[in-house]
């Protein structure tokens, strides 16, 4: 085929498969939404929808960093525990100094440090990511429980709590932050050369390395960003709950992973977008919110999340086998 005809073909408007997948997921969000509004009168209310968005925002903060990790064909099982430690340290710092900014700095520093360690274990020592971050999970949890010694810190300054509860032009602040993070994150992941290199590392680390991509440095960056995102998420949790105790992050990892995977990011690397993860968090939050509204016990949550994770990976596997 000549180059001219290849251009001619390119000009024909066909939707790229990634966009189609995203639209399918948006359709799923719509279907769940319609179903819920039929099933429960409480669903289609402004209060509830704003609430859904706010919950989705909390999940998205964690899932955003995790998305990058999963794009590199890795996994970070320590995000929940990172949130726990960062929230407890930040909460304690804010209580003892009265200065929210110290808390902010502490949470971000804890998150980044944990991520850096994860990244070094994965890239320099080549420990499989799920083992390294799983070990990290338990280390962090122990440190957090010891640090808190069963205590709860609560009651933070009003200004800080705005981060979780405040409104700006009628929108909850976390939702606005989520929108900003989505834009900045997408810019980084889709438009910066580092983001592109990270995607290509996930698609084929050997080819990336042999094409001059500094794979180790990029992997360390990715895990550090995941830790940083968890650190930031901890601040929003802290502000929202107005308290911190040791088990704050424990149940968050599974939903965060689920949101990434149903957002279309492939566990096998090289495919994934933050917009997808955003839709994934919406979908998962809707499902969990709907369960809530329909008075399904909270105990069903791990089951639903677990099934969603396995189903998402299975669909991804089937899709990629069908393509090849």
């Amino acid at each position: 085929m000549t180059a001219a005809s290849s251009e001619a073909r390119a000009a024909r408007p066909t939707l790229p498969p990634e966009l189609i997948r995203l639209l399918l997921r948006l359709a799923a969000v719509l279907i769940v939404g319609v179903a819920l509004s039929l099933l429960s009168g409480a669903f289609l209310t402004v209060v509830n929808l704003v609430n859904v968005l706010r919950q989705a925002a909390l999940l998205f903060f964690m899932s955003s960093g995790l998305t990058l990790v999963v794009i590199t064909a890795g996994l970070d099982l320590s995000v929940g525990a990172t949130i726990g430690l960062a929230a407890c340290i930040a909460g304690t710092a804010i209580k003892s100094t009265g200065d929210p900014w110290i808390g902010v700095a502490a949470a971000l520093a804890v998150g980044a440090a944990v991520g850096l360690l994860n990244g070094m274990m994965v890239s320099l020592l080549r420990i499989p990511s799920f083992i390294a971050t799983y070990g990290m999970l338990w280390v962090l949890q122990g440190v957090t429980y010891t640090f808190m010694a069963g205590a709860t810190v609560y009651g933070f300054p009003h200004g800080f709590r705005e981060l979780g509860n405040g409104y700006f032009f009628g929108m909850p602040i976390p939702v606005l932050v989520m929108a900003a993070l989505l834009v900045v994150g997408t810019l980084f992941a889709q438009r910066s050369i580092w983001g592109q290199q990270i995607t290509m590392i996930g698609a084929n680390p050997t080819a990336a390395r042999l094409s001059g991509v500094p794979v180790r440095r990029r992997l360390i960056l990715v895990y550090t960003l995941s830790g940083l995102a968890a650190g930031f998420a901890s601040l929003v949790f802290l502000a929202r709950l107005n308290s911190a105790e040791a088990d704050i992050g424990g149940s968050l990892t599974l939903p965060a992973i689920a949101a990434v995977l149903i957002g279309g990011t492939s566990l096998f690397g090289g495919v994934g977008t933050l917009t997808g993860t955003f839709v994934g968090t919406l979908l998962l939050t809707l499902v969990l919110n709907g369960m809530n509204l329909l008075h399904v016990e909270g105990n069903w949550q791990p089951l639903v999340t677990g099934v969603i994770i396995v189903a998402a990976v299975w669909l991804d596997l089937r899709g990629s086998r069908a393509r090849s």
């Binding site: 085929m1 000549t2 180059a3 290849s6 251009e7 073909r9 390119a10 790229p16 810019l187 438009r191 910066s192 050369i193 580092w194 592109q196 290199q197 995607t199 290509m200 698609a203 084929n204 050997t206 080819a207 990336a208 390395r209 042999l210 094409s211 001059g212 991509v213 500094p214 090289g270 495919v271 990629s320 393509r323 090849s324």
Partner: protein
Amino acid sequence: MIATETTTTPEAPLAPPKLELRGISKSFPGVRALSDVSFAIWPGETHMLLGENGAGKSTLMKVLCGAVAADAGEVLYEGRPTVIASPADARQLGIAVIFQEFSLVPHLDIAHNIYLGRAPRGRTPGSIDHKRLFADARRVLDMIGFDIDPRESVHRLGVAQQQMVEIAKALSQDARILVMDEPTAALSDRESERLFAMMARLKADGVAIVYISHRMAEVFALGDRITVLRDGKKVRSLLPKEATPDELVRLMVGRTVDMTYPRRFRAPGETMLEVRGLAAANGVANVDITVREGEIVGLCGLVGSGRTEVARAIFGADRVTSGEVRVFGRVHPGSPDHSAKLGMALIPESRKTEGLALIRTVGDNLLLAGLPSLFPSGFMRAGFGRTTAHEIVKRLGIAAASLQQQVGTLSGGNQQKVVIGKWLAAKARLFIFDEPTRGIDIGAKAQIFALIDELVAAGAGVLMISSEQAEIVHVCDRAYVMRGKRIVGELGRAELSEENIVRLGMHQ
């Protein structure tokens, strides 16, 4: 079938062959691996299979053992038509194959490996009668004179010993047809002698042996019959007494229909790559190589002679332990990202596993190596990226529907062009090609060589690895020949001939 040589089988014994392949053809996407190959083996004979890399020997073996299904042709077992559709079918017929890649379980002992899935049962259901297992293993190991404790774990064995276990495994299945792929490649002389003695015993028992070798001495010492393959076709079957080593070399390399590649030779310019006393963790040592502007320098030798390892060490992909690599006069710190920054490019041997991110698009792959130099701000400008990629698509004639097409769906030749193209986008000037034409069709080959010629005409320097001596001879200014992880000779343009390369590179 090519018309230039006879294809008759000389002096066929009166007994019917143990196994006969008739008119076997097999194509893989983009390449015709076997075309109309006929081949027969008789009990008690060793049939030597000769051919250059890529001549179709391994595909033929895979057809024999049921790992690959032929597109056309028939198989006769003791004169009766039969079908080998799976490894189980092959085993049923008594065909045992010893591949170069081992089918051993590393952390099991020798005896368990030999009898994997067939271990003698003990009294308790599911249990293994270890006494018998080890005794049986001992007996098989004794048959090949391999003096080792069958309780030894396989991962502790050297390559040669693992080879012996593979052979023992094949023998334990009462193989009547034994296929061996360069079994002595990893063996010492003494071990080889033992293997030959064992083969003699097996032959006396009426076992038919197919033996692939690159060693001329073995061909004449062991062979009862010789078949030469070239480019997926059988060139000729003959008896050892009818042939001389020179004649066999000529049959292996000789080309009647030849591809000539246009090449504009010119006086080389300044030195671009200078390698002195290079040794690397991957085993190569004492490597001296120079590549100058406007030159195509060949790096040849048999598969496994260390060519790829040299390329990887120069590019910084494998750790250099001593020696020096200078690129454009500067000492190269030794990592792929530095190489890329210095303007060096590696087009690796396996484009699917090392060259391309198959699930990503043509555009993504074309821009991968050039990201830092094309977008110094750190952010990609979509329009500029598209224009750059389109220019390369046009320049290389890459047949892709659009930049959005998945690279994995392109043909082999077009995939290779994308690998080359990504380094054009990165404005590389020093290229290392590792088997640039493997598995792509003749037309695409010519295009790739035209492109390489164009590159050097524009002032690039090229180091090119190829297993096809004809390519080296036609295209290169000079060539280094490797054997056993060392460079054993350098051939100037005047001495560059297939015969010389084969003679230098082959074990004598």
